[in-house]
């Protein structure tokens, strides 16, 4: 299976990555070869194998009690942010 330039452009858009025209051929070739490599797996007979999303067979999700265990640490967490204002994280404008 070989990816087209459009496929790569779409994948890049979904991942919010910008790829230049010059870079495009490299990504088309190398992404295609990765997909082809993984595609080998489709030759395996998996007709009667249940899909496994987790390696911890037989285990299941632990639940926690509904208790508030966290206090307000806004100041500490926001010291990492590039820009804050009135308690808000400030990001480039997004509008629908």
């Amino acid at each position: 299976m070989s990816l087209t330039r459009q496929d790569v452009a779409k994948i890049a858009h979904l991942a919010r990555l910008s790829i230049t025209e010059q870079e495009m051929p490299v990504y088309v070739t190398s992404l295609s070869s990765i997909v082809n490599f993984v595609d080998e797996l489709s030759r395996a007979q998996t007709g009667d194998v249940l899909p496994m999303a987790h390696p911890l067979d037989g285990q299941h999700q632990r639940l926690r009690a509904d208790e508030v265990s966290e206090s307000d640490n806004r100041e500490k967490y926001q010291s990492n942010a590039p820009q804050v204002q009135a308690g808000l994280y400030v990001v480039p404008r997004v509008i629908e």
């Binding site: 779409k10 858009h13 979904l14 919010r16 999303a53 987790h54 911890l56 285990q59 299941h60 999700q61 632990r62 639940l63 926690r64 009690a65 509904d66 208790e67 508030v68 265990s69 966290e70 307000d72 640490n73 806004r74 967490y77 926001q78 820009q83 204002q85 009135a86 308690g87 808000l88 994280y89 400030v90 990001v91 480039p92 404008r93 997004v94 509008i95 629908e96």
Partner: protein
């Protein structure tokens, strides 16, 4: 124009679950806290953190499932829904995809004309809410508040079973009633605790295949749901009749302009690349868990309505209104228990009428009503024993509402006790007749309508206190000249 087209609507309702802490972290979920004061490292998507599932959120989802007769999945799986948006720090929302916690159920919905329609619920799944983006007061920037990020949501997805905006609203109201009965969601639509997306399409009547649908996002009032759907239906029909075709897209309802418009920015948004979240193991729900939840189910709205109409001989409409919330039903029953089922209809009329309008007018919750069930019973008892008329009772109710006193105290203080003494009423009638000889002559010559005039005059003279039945009887006799 509409009759050639059939409207098809499905709703996705988001109910915020009333847990104390978030679905995957120990942050508080209280509404209205200072921005980002309830967003911890898990909510902020710091590296190395892991989500831990809140047991109460699971319990609430199961409770909902049981209330609509749905199958509760013994095994359900959380999945990542991938998209980029600043109010979603992880770059994905943890949701459920192929294996939701609640599967196929159904709900009976009473429509305006009294018919009952059964609407299918395809599924209900657990997921986390996103944060909020704010645009006011920031030049060329948006402010992000992540207090809401990670708040548990139950997304309730209906079958495309609704055939009009009114049906959609009736269904949404029913779900709203149900989640509040179950105490799994506060139902506060202003605060966004209960909101919905509507999938709307039209097809020529008689055709089986669905038309292309548009999804209207984030409707947070019953009125907007109805208006947005009606606008969208008219738009689609006009588009098709003019030779165009509907595009599958996401639209926003603008309540100021009363129209829906396309959200252009979402052109690739439907490629969510769901996959099972490796940070969360499958959720196992066993019989004992389900049984424990079942034991906490309250009397459900339909059961309560059926009981009201059977025990108290109320109409389906009255029973439906009085069971619309647990609190209203409890208030009504408290009055009826004290007065006896024979007076249930009187109690129903007063609870649905004067009491409800006073509560609405002053925006008071029935749980803290200024007129308690015992006080209302006190008032109604005076109607039953004919101390006051129904009309005077309304005046007394208003005084009870504003002064917080008992009915008897107000009747006494204001001298509102009904006049039931025949002699006294006759005296007033005689005086009125003597003062209006022309009207008397006209009445006796066949102008029957003047009867109301005399009733009005006597009521005026007695300040509305004459017993209406007695007055009618005595007046008829006097005017007829037989007394």
């Amino acid at each position: 124009m509409m009759s050639n087209w059939e409207v098809v609507i499905g709703l996705e309702i988001h109910a915020q679950l009333a847990t104390k802490s978030k679905i995957f972290s120990g942050s508080a979920t209280a509404y209205g806290a200072p921005p980002n004061s309830q967003a911890n490292l898990v909510d902020l998507a710091y590296p190395g953190v892991l989500p831990v599932l809140n047991a109460e959120a699971v319990r609430m989802a199961v409770k909902f499932g049981l209330s609509i007769g749905a199958e509760v999945a013994r095994r359900s799986v959380f999945a990542r829904k991938n998209y980029f948006y600043p109010d979603l720090p992880k770059g994905y929302q943890i949701s459920q995809y192929e294996l939701p916690v609640v599967k196929q159920g159904k709900l009976a919905v009473m429509l305006e004309d009294g018919t009952v329609k059964v609407v299918g619920v395809t599924r209900a799944h657990l997921e986390e809410d996103a944060g909020k983006s704010l645009h006011e007061g920031l030049a060329h920037a948006s402010g992000i508040d992540l207090n809401r990020a990670g708040t548990p949501l139950l997304e309730i997805v209906s079958e495309p079973d609704m055939r009009s905006a009114k049906e959609a609203v009736a269904y949404m109201k029913k779900i709203h009633t149900l989640v509040r009965y179950l105490e799994i969601c506060d139902g506060n639509m202003q605060e966004g605790s209960f909101r919905c997306d509507a999938n709307v399409s039209v097809r020529p009547r008689g055709r089986e295949k669905f038309g292309t649908r548009a999804e209207i996002k984030n409707l947070n009032s019953f009125r907007f749901v109805e208006k947005a759907i009606n606008y969208e239906v008219a738009r689609q029909i006009e588009l098709i009749e003019c030779g165009g075709s509907v595009v599958q897209e996401t639209r926003l309802y603008d309540s100021d302009k009363d129209e829906t418009r396309s959200m252009r920015s979402k052109e690739e948004a439907n490629d969510y690349r769901y996959f099972p979240d490796p940070d969360l193991l499958p959720v196992h729900i066993d019989e004992s868990f389900i049984d424990a939840v079942r034991a906490t189910l309250p009397e459900l709205p339909d059961d309560k309505a059926a009981r009201f109409s059977q025990e108290f001989s109320l109409s389906a409409y009255d029973a439906g209104v009085l069971s619309a919330s647990r609190e209203l039903g409890a208030y009504f029953e408290a009055v009826v228990v004290q007065m006896g089922p024979a007076h249930a209809k009187l109690a129903a009329n007063w609870v649905m009428g004067e009491l409800s309008s006073a509560l609405n007018r002053d925006n008071v919750d029935i749980a803290v009503s200024r007129v308690s069930p015992a006080q209302l019973k006190g008032l109604l008892t005076r109607i039953v024993d004919q101390t006051i008329s129904g009309k005077i009772a309304k005046e007394v109710f208003d005084a009870m509402w504003s002064e917080g006193k008992a009915a008897d105290a107000i009747i006494e203080a204001k001298g509102l006790k009904q006049i039931t003494d025949t002699g006294a009423i006759e005296g007033v009638i005689d005086a009125v007749i003597a003062a209006n000889p022309k009207q008397l002559a006209d009445y006796r010559s066949g102008k029957d309508k003047l009867f109301g005039f005399f009733v009005g005059q006597v009521m005026k003279a007695t300040e509305g206190k004459a017993n209406p039945a007695q007055l009618n009887e005595l007046l008829k006799a006097k005017l007829g000249g037989s007394a």
